[in-house]
């Protein structure tokens, strides 16, 4: 019997027991829907992580100043400012395809009119904007002349703009940073939360020279050119690992460190951090899908159960079919097609319900979901495989019946 014939026979058999067919399908429907929803939610979470990583900037190396020990108490990275603006200037000069941005960090109280706000201030060079992939929402960034003249200009983040200025346009306004008046020349685009949940928009940027001389003017900082961090951006397509080693070697040489001596700075490859984050979110998504697929397997067992019942109920029919000339493969095919039809119809219904549920979750809970055609194809393929796998044993049982006994079966 050909496939269309088998399909018609299967549809008729399933239509005779509509409720039973529906209940059998329910297992597959729930399983497929669960897989679709879990993949959508998992992929949504993964996409969020990827976006956060992108907002951090890719191909980045972060150099932190070394530690200092004060009376036996180790103070952590940055407590001893071992790296300097000169190190930052040397990196793009010595290592091709890199860009370095030193940054000096501090906190300060901002005052505008009768409002005030405490935020983080970064003293940076224009490269910083580029390296950290900040976009301007309005205004301009400071340039080399601002840097040279230590002019009192700054860029504000979205959170600062909202908290300090409310609805007013910050551009051109004068704010006081630790009592020093600054002109706002630009507003940064929002970056949102970082992976750790901190608000990346709660900051102001100013020329590093201005920050050093006028705001963070601690005496030793003012004299030296040391900085807390240097961000290094490596051009796309370059080997991050090699760049990391080159930077490390350059800094060790500049700091005159002997072989065997520990680094007096800390070098972090953010690509590795990002890769770890991505890997863990992928594992989570996979885990969700795996848990959901357990229900698919349970649904498959339901199909097997009902197919076994069906084979027993229809023993005489099988005997009759054999008597009029059905071969082993005809009977095998008939019951296999029936099981696969059950699982495929269940699979299609499950896809519809799964998509509806995922969209519902996105609407109600506000979670991000990603519905991919691959997950739909995967679900259909899985449902098909379940039908074949769990339908095979009952079908083989039917095909192996002895026609004499099958015809005599009561």
């Amino acid at each position: 019997m050909n496939l269309i014939g088998l399909l018609r026979v299967a549809m008729r058999a399933l239509a005779i027991n509509k409720l039973r067919s529906l209940l059998t399908m329910l297992g597959i429907i729930i399983g497929v829907a669960a897989v679709i929803v879990m993949i959508a939610v998992g992929a949504g979470a993964q996409q969020r992580v990827e976006e956060q990583i992108r907002s951090l900037g890719s191909n980045l190396l972060l150099i932190l100043s070394g530690t200092t020990t004060s009376g036996g108490v180790r103070m952590g990275f940055g407590s001893n400012l071992t790296i300097s603006e000169d190190d930052a200037a040397a990196i793009p000069r010595e290592i091709p395809a890199t860009m370095a941005a030193p940054a000096l960090r501090g906190t300060a109280q901002l005052i505008w009119g009768n409002t005030n706000w405490s935020t983080v201030i970064f003293g940076v060079t224009p490269e910083y904007i580029d390296v950290r992939q900040w976009e301007l929402a309005a205004g301009r960034i400071f340039d080399a002349s601002d840097l040279a003249g230590a002019t009192k200009v700054c860029l504000v983040g979205q959170t600062v703009a909202r908290q300090l200025f409310g609805g007013a346009d910050p551009l051109g306004q004068t704010i006081r940073v630790r009592r020093v008046p600054f002109t706002v020349i630009g507003v940064l685009e929002s970056k949102g939360q970082s992976m750790m949940g901190t608000d990346q928009d709660d900051l102001i940027l100013m020329p590093i020279s201005t920050a050093r001389k006028r705001v963070l003017g601690a005496s030793n900082l003012a004299k030296q050119r040391s900085v807390g961090t240097i961000w290094v951006k490596v051009a796309d397509g370059q080997d991050m690992k090699a760049a990391e080693e080159q930077v490390r070697a350059l800094l060790r040489q500049r700091h005159r460190l002997q072989p065997g001596q520990d680094d007096d700075f800390s070098l972090r490859n953010l690509e590795e951090v990002a890769a770890t984050q991505e890997a863990s979110s992928r594992v989570l998504a996979l885990l969700l899908a795996a848990v959901a697929s357990v229900s698919l397997v349970v649904g498959g067992i339901g199909i097997m159960n009902i197919m076994l019942v069906s084979v027993t109920e229809r023993t005489r029919e099988i005997g009759l079919r054999m008597a009029v000339g059905a071969r082993t493969r005809d009977i095998l095919g008939q019951f296999l097609v029936e099981a696969v039809t059950l699982s495929l119809i269940g699979g299609l219904a499950g896809i519809a319900i799964g998509i509806a549920t995922a969209v519902g979750i996105a609407e109600v809970a506000g979670w991000r979901i990603v519905l991919s055609p691959q997950s739909v194809v995967l679900a259909v393929a899985f449902a098909f495989a379940i039908g074949v796998f769990f339908g095979f044993y009952p079908a083989r049982k039917a095909a192996r019946l002895n026609p004499v006994e099958a015809l005599r079966f009561e």
Partner: protein, 234 residues
Amino acid sequence: MAAALIRTRDLTKTYRVGDNEIKALAGVSVDIEQGEFTAVMGPSGSGKSTFMNMLGCLDRPSSGEYLLGGRRVSELEGDELAQVRNSSVGFVFQTFNLLARTAAMENVELPLVYAGMPAAERRVRALEMLAKVGLAERAGHQPAQLSGGQQQRVAIARALVTRPLLILADEPTGALDSRTSLEIMGLLQELNRGGMTVLLVTHEADVARFARRVLYFRDGLMVKDAVNAETELA
């Protein structure tokens, strides 16, 4: 003399139940010619059903030889037997064994489906057979909408549809009242007059009287091979 349509030689069938061996057939040799109307009679357990299963290629003998239309079918297995059943044997059962919720037409077509005949050709042939048993107008009816006699006619049409070498009828009137039984026996006799070889299995002497020849079975052996002097006409 041409070879017999059915020729068995020392046909035996042994079943094993636990440690016991049960000889359902203890060696049966018989020739049945093309065009005969033969009844197989005997009490239950006599081996007549086993004998019919052998002749219908539903089962394989433990030993002995069976030639159907000159072909040694006792050596065939599985799908080869299925092919012989499909092309050469038409079964009629006591309980009709029609597919439920399936039109008479489709029931008749079933053997042709397994023979791989195209749908259009199948329909023509099935309709022809339904007409032959007088049910052409009932082609679209499902078994539940037909009387017992009509259902058995559909089953006979199904048995005829592949133009088999013989019809094997196992207690074909067992589930019917006497008037309808008479109709069915009349139909079988009519088919026989048209040249069809008919083999009837029954435990009722009344039914066996419609056959030309009667084979009596007892304890797995054929004990008597008689010709009805006067065949009753249904």
